[in-house]
Point group: C2
Chain length 507, copies 2
């Protein structure tokens, strides 16, 4: 069946490939149906590496495994690194006669885990018959008979963010090879190992290997597909910069009856700090913070308007009665955000003592939009805090410092990176939109900017090549939280998309 | 040496006893010097019972122990209780010829503990050569030769709050007996087992046993002495009511890039909630909250003015550069307070994930002053929250509730009790001031109201008898926090004070 294309996609399709994409999709689907157990097994192996920042050896082991997988498929491979950074797994495979080179980016590290919050251990993947919240029960995939129910879900840290992209790539490559389908482009792979830590070394590694990484297009395999479950391409992503701050009260916890009202209470101080930074509707109250925000173009506004509404369904799914801002999700994503990731102060519930805590800690991240720069935001935050009477320190204050300054805040900044939005109408962009359309039975959602952060800015700054985001994971994958998971149908569609990008791209 | 008395005390002394108090103090000091190891051993035994609300069997065992101690000293004893309440240890001992009866109140339960925050386990007491923060090292009191250095400190939960009062009572009683000194009053003992849980059953127990507990004076052994290390008598105490509140975000934690700005963030909501309730200078912003606050009398203002200044020293000790309100500590204590005991939301530091948390919890206590009533405060808080758009629930909200209400807050209220300030110039009050003066080489601090809460209001409401607070613990005892401790000199002075109250009170 011919896929239904949106107006944008019909125009874009005129720039599409000359191969018959629908045929390729059907063939890849057939190959996949015969190899589902093998694909899940490979996913399972990759998920068992605890590749999180807290476990450098787990990160290194995952890199070695992926390097081996590329080598086995005939790629020239290398682990690219700079001192103190986890390696980028790099691979390249030339296609005789191809004139274009595409780099496939993904990351193999995951968010930190709090194992006590997980139903099953984060690095011991299990397949379930559906989402945990809907009573999904464990299936033994080693004995289950394919084809698997596409609504089954695989649980484990990094499933959706972002190992699914690597598995989709490897399976799509295997499918093309098995089908005798020669790639249409030269293929390069860049799989990063510290995206969830804010990619502090990525720019260095890319710049050091600039020649090796030259290409005509970057396809960024990260983020979730649209909440409507349509495949999604994104042409930008919010940037990010995070901080962890500690504010200080008395050197020892004090009885809050004897001293409450007189000794400063750091739990109350951190609450006032947050309320100073952020209005209840999410607006950031730091002077100048919005000054650099780039207006949306007409093309971007049109793309947003063409997206199917998802808000009512999401409110049902998330069990919330309102959004912070009242507008659409995409409207909210096009603005910068200040997220409070956590607050720790004293104790609550049965553990609460009638005491003034000694300190309070807050973890914050900013989601930036073009053309906000992380360094500028950092300076604005610090200047604002100083205007509110805070003394900013970078180490735990000593006694003399505590006695000398009325409001002390220790800030530990993440490096962060800027946001990026790219040209949605370049020849490469249109070729990608066309190929994605061929690989899907449903319309593709084309969005100007992803809410989550992907270091697109870094790629653009170094390579000035077209960039398109190609996510695979379901939106309801609990990414960055406990019980992260992917829906098998998303993986299957991801394999279709990757096969199209390797086998059909032409411009 | 004749103690230096303040003007108030010199006047009060005219109403004092006809015995020579200084002689009694010297004799008690002599007895104590010969029995220091025995007194510390008894303290050690009492501290080993984990008498905290989370451990009902520990509470019961402590009650049994204290009952046995009174019985061994010839008291008529009983465990007074009502269903589901820890017992009040009651004892009475008539003095032939005495016309006055004095009840000695203290509590044998302690604040909750977080053992990981303690340097040594909270229920395994150790004696140290000084405060932990000043390098105090552990001493084996079983082999150390008395007299002990009075600056040594005994560490353990409930040392200062409030088992020191029971130990001072028992040692003072033993001293009088050993010295052949007949008490001047009939003695009753009321030792409570759930003061740190807000005394939810105390009124019931007292009312049920009203006749048995009749007296001419209540001496309330709780709280710390003055920060100047002077002995202290208090004539009132702030009341208290606490709450634990949970506010709700999405049913699952969500990626704060994809949803930040659109899905309500409960960590930010709880910060705004606190900022709505409480100004940075500690003022409570709930409409009507201050309406019932009783003005200070001239006698109270005079008593406050006579107190030695402690603010500069406390700032040094607590390592803070300011107070919340700028005024004196006693000025702050005479006002009600809203204390934030703790906040829990998401994760911070290395554990922080880029996620919108599912909920946030805050623990708050109010310190009330006359004539604020807990039920009124509760109603004011709830009315204020409703005016700010909150829907108040008492159980974890179900899906339908979450989807129907924009801002949901679950509140779990403690019962609480009102504040109390009594007449500082009654005959009984003046007799107590005189006896305390005899028992001390230094002026006694006489304060209208203690910052900490003691259920004085409950005693007054039921018995209408004079009430005076007789604390023993040092102010720097970390009460309500980890590493709670008492300084031996405070215990020694407490024994002097209790001996004077049993042996010299006459009015």
């Amino acid at each position: 069946m011919r896929p239904r294309l949106s107006a944008t996609l019909i125009v874009a399709a005129l720039w599409g490939t000359i191969t018959t994409g629908d045929d390729l999709k059907r063939q890849v689907d057939g190959w996949r149906a015969a190899h589902e157990t093998h694909i899940v097994a490979q996913f399972d192996s990759l998920l068992r590496f605890p590749s999180v920042a807290a476990d450098p050896s787990g990160v290194a082991a995952a890199a070695d495994y992926l390097e081996g997988q590329l080598k086995a498929r005939g790629f020239d491979v290398a682990l690219l690194t700079v001192p103190n950074a986890p390696p980028v797994v790099f691979g390249s495979l030339a296609t005789p006669g191809a004139t274009r080179t595409v780099v496939f980016y993904a990351h193999y590290d995951g968010q930190p885990v709090t194992p006590s919050q997980w139903t099953t251990p984060p690095f011991e993947p299990v397949l379930r018959t559906g989402p945990l919240g809907s009573g999904g029960t464990v299936v033994d995939w080693t004995t289950a008979k394919p084809p698997f129910d596409p609504e089954w879900r695989l649980y484990g840290r990094s499933t959706g963010d972002d190992k699914i992209s690597e598995i989709a790539f490897l399976a799509a490559f295997d499918a093309l090879k098995s089908l005798g389908k020669k790639p249409s482009v030269n293929i390069k792979v860049v799989w990063e190992g510290e995206e969830e830590a804010g990619s502090p070394h990525l720019a260095d590694i890319l710049r050091t290997n600039k020649t090796k990484l030259s290409s005509d297009l970057w396809l960024i395999g990260d983020g979730p597909v649209h909440q409507s479950r349509r495949p999604l391409l994104f042409f930008g992503a919010r940037g990010t910069i995070g901080l962890d701050a500690t504010v200080y009260g008395p050197i020892n916890a004090l009885h809050d009856g004897h001293y409450g009202n007189w000794v400063p209470n750091p739990a109350a101080m951190v609450a006032n700090l947050i309320a100073d930074l952020r209005a209840p509707d999410g607006r950031v109250l730091i002077p100048g913070f919005m000054d650099a925000v780039r207006p949306e173009t007409k093309a971007e506004r049109d793309a947003i308007a063409a997206l199917p509404p998802v808000e009512d369904e999401l409110k049902q799914e998330f069990q919330i009665a309102r959004s912070e801002t009242g507008g659409s999700l995409m409207d909210a994503v096009m603005r910068p955000a200040l997220n409070v990731r956590g607050i720790r102060a004293g104790k609550v519930g049965g553990e609460a003592a009638n005491a003034i805590p000694i300190d309070a800690e807050v973890s914050i991240d900013f989601r930036l939009v073009p053309d906000q720069m992380p360094d500028t935001v950092r300076a604005q935050v610090e200047s604002f805090l100083r205007s509110k009477g805070w003394t900013i320190v970078t180490d735990t204050p000593d006694s003399a410092t505590r006695r000398a300054h009325e409001k002390i805040i220790k800030i530990d900044w993440e490096k962060g990176y800027a946001a990026f939005r790219s040209d949605m109408s370049s020849p490469a962009a249109r070729a990608v939109i066309a190929a994605a359309g061929h690989a899907s039975d449903r319309p593709v959602a084309v969005v100007p900017m992803l809410g989550g952060s992907v270091p697109l800015y870094v790629f653009d700054d170094i390579f000035h090549a077209p960039l398109v985001g190609l996510p695979v994971a379901n939106h309801d994958d609990n990414q960055h939280a406990a019980n992260e998971n992917v829906r098998l149908q998303n993986l299957w569609e991801g394999i279709d998309a990757y096969a199209a990008m390797m086998g059909e791209l032409n411009w």
